[in-house]
Symmetry: C2
Subunit: 121 residues, 2 copies
Amino acid sequence: MTTIALELAPAAPTSGPCCAPLVREATDPAAAADLARSFKALGDPTRVRLLSIVAAHDGGEACVCDLTEPVGLSQPTVSHHLKILVDAGLLAREQRGKWAYYSVVPGSLDRLGALLSEAAR
Amino acid sequence: MTTIALELAPAAPTSGPCCAPLVREATDPAAAADLARSFKALGDPTRVRLLSIVAAHDGGEACVCDLTEPVGLSQPTVSHHLKILVDAGLLAREQRGKWAYYSVVPGSLDRLGALLSEAAR
DNA sequence: TGGTCAGATCGAAGAGTCTCGATGCGTTGC
DNA sequence: GCAACGCATCGAGACTCTTCGATCTGACCA
């Protein structure tokens, strides 16, 4: 359903600019950078898997030792990816004794999903 | 509302593994890579801006010359980013005469948003 | 046919990312 | 106290991404 609604300025001569001179910016640069930061966190297969494994884990939380084996990466690498997810506000970290438990921040993914739909409005 | 529902295996001895031995993988690697590819396309501020500018433009479509000036980048760079968005299935390209018109693929962003909510289930 | 214009592609420079082994820090148990 | 354990941090190496100027490809016009 690709709507080709209008021929934009079809009578414009070739010498002039092809399109509308003014573009109303829907997403300002700062907001775009903010959005991109969140999406960049999800732009790695390992992090998507980590997120889903944590979400599917018992109690909705998991420690690092739960995650290294399923993704097949070293402990420092997994720790690195988890930090990125925490910085993006998608995961929460809680230290309990020797272990660090990670859990999905409630509503964070839904918020991103809502922003996606909103951006396309 | 961070639900700390259960202390996972609190009675387990230190010598054993800390957590559940088996992890049911929510998102298989192939699906995770697919998801990540889409999100990576949105993981750059320039591409988020390009997407929103195209969406906000008259008729929901814009050509490259509409986009270079607002984002302040060279034409090859904008062309490069647009190609990435097209490859990710977020933008559609249509050549009309001298100009190439880009438009947001209907439903593509909503689909991603739905996947986000689904992944957190 | 030849000139001009919009846009894609190419090659290269610089910055950023992913991954690892080694190491440091705090907690637990003896 | 001391050893063991879980995890974060620190370089380092390899790779990818972003960006640009230069160039190529098609479409239009005279």
